[in-house]
C-alpha cells in the first residue's frame, strides 16, 4: 500500500490548524496570518509542520492580554514501512510572555536513543536536584531542565490536545467557545490512531482481547504476524 504523502501532510497540518483555531483565540494585535500553519517540505518526503515562522509561537492570553506562548512543532516523514506519514519529532512548549526560556516542554523523538522517546523537560531549577546529580551522575549538566521525565513512549505519549488541556486547566488561559469539546474529540481521534498502531505492534494481544469479547478472529493466509517487541520495549 502506498499513500499520497503530500496529501497526508496537508490533512495533518489542517488538523493542527483547525485545533488551534477552535481552541485558542487570536489576540487583536496578532495578525491572523501569524496563526497560519505553514509546512515547508523538501523532496516530497520531509515536512515541518509549524505555526508561522520556524519559532512557531502561538500567543496565549488571559482576559485578552498576552501572557505567554505555546510553541508547537511537528516534523513528519514516511514511516519505516513507507505506508504512513509518521511524526519524526514533536515539541510542545510553554513560555511566559516576557521570558524567552521555556517553563515546560513535551518532546517526542522517534529515533531517540539516549532519552525516552517521549518526555517532559521542566525548566525550574532546584538545588536539591543539582546536588543529587553531582553525587550520582557527575557527567550530567546538573540542571533539572536537562532531566527527561518519561511519559508512555511513542505509542502512549500525550497528544497536543493533552498539552492544550493542561494549559487551560492549570493556567486558565482564554479559550474559544466549545474548546473543551474540540479537545475531547481530538483526543479520541488521537487515541484511536494510537490504538491502531499498538494493534500492529501486538496483534496477539488484540486477538486475545477480541476473542475474550466474543469475536472470532482468523489469521491471514500469510500467517500470524509476530509482535513487534522492539517497539513494545522501547523506553
Amino acid at each position: 500500500m502506498t499513500i499520497d504523502v503530500q496529501r497526508a501532510a496537508q490533512d495533518f497540518a489542517q488538523e493542527v490548524q483547525d485545533l488551534l483555531d477552535s481552541v485558542l483565540p487570536c489576540p487583536d494585535n496578532v495578525p491572523h496570518e501569524d496563526r497560519k500553519v505553514l509546512v515547508p517540505f523538501i523532496d516530497g518526503r520531509r515536512y515541518s509542520v509549524r505555526v508561522g515562522d520556524s519559532l512557531s509561537k502561538v500567543t496565549l492570553t488571559k482576559d485578552k492580554a498576552p501572557v505567554g506562548y505555546l510553541r508547537v512543532i511537528f516534523w513528519c516523514t514516511l514511516d519505516t514501512s513507507r505506508t504512513y506519514l509518521a511524526v519524526h519529532k514533536s515539541t510542545f512548549e510553554l513560555l511566559e510572555f516576557s521570558d524567552r526560556q521555556p517553563i515546560a516542554r513535551l518532546d517526542y523523538m522517534r529515533e531517540a536513543s539516549t532519552a525516552p522517546a517521549a518526555h517532559w523537560n521542566i525548566h525550574a531549577e532546584r538545588g536539591t536536584v543539582s546536588r543529587m546529580l553531582s553525587r550520582t551522575n557527575p557527567g550530567h549538566p546538573g540542571a533539572l531542565s536537562a532531566l527527561h521525565f518519561p511519559v508512555g513512549g511513542a505509542r502512549m505519549r500525550p497528544c497536543l490536545e493533552d498539552f492544550l488541556h493542561f494549559l487551560i486547566h492549570e493556567f486558565k488561559i482564554d479559550i474559544m467557545p466549545g474548546a473543551l469539546a474540540v479537545l475531547s474529540e481530538g483526543r479520541e481521534r488521537w487515541r484511536r490512531r494510537q490504538i491502531g498502531t499498538v494493534v500492529r505492534d501486538a496483534p496477539d494481544e488484540a486477538i486475545r482481547v477480541l476473542t475474550e469479547l466474543g469475536y472470532a478472529v482468523r489469521p491471514p493466509a500469510t500467517g500470524e504476524r509476530e509482535a513487534n517487541s522492539q517497539a513494545l520495549q522501547r523506553w
Binding site: 501532510a9 489542517q14 515547508p40 517540505f41 515541518s48 512543532i73 524567552r100 526560556q101 540542571a143
Partner: protein, 62 residues
C-alpha cells in the same frame, strides 16, 4: 484558516542556514557545545531551533 504547504530547495535551505549563523555571530561548534551544556541565550536557542528545522529538512539531523 487553511494550512499551507510550500516546497523548499536545498539551495534555499543552505543559504538560510548560512544567514542564520551569520546573524547570530557565534560559530556553530560553539553553539552546539553551549546547547549540550544547557547554557544557551534566548537568541542562540532561537537560532538553534531554526538550524534544527533546516537540518531535518535537509536530512542532516541524524
Amino acid at each position: 484558516m487553511t494550512a499551507e504547504l510550500y516546497e523548499v530547495t536545498r539551495e534555499q535551505l543552505t543559504k538560510q542556514r548560512r544567514e542564520a549563523l551569520t546573524w547570530l555571530g557565534v560559530p556553530e561548534h560553539d553553539l552546539r557545545q553551549r546547547a549540550a551544556k544547557h547554557v544557551l541565550t534566548p537568541e542562540e536557542r532561537d537560532t538553534l531551533t531554526e538550524l534544527e528545522e533546516i537540518d531535518f529538512l535537509l536530512g542532516d539531523d541524524a
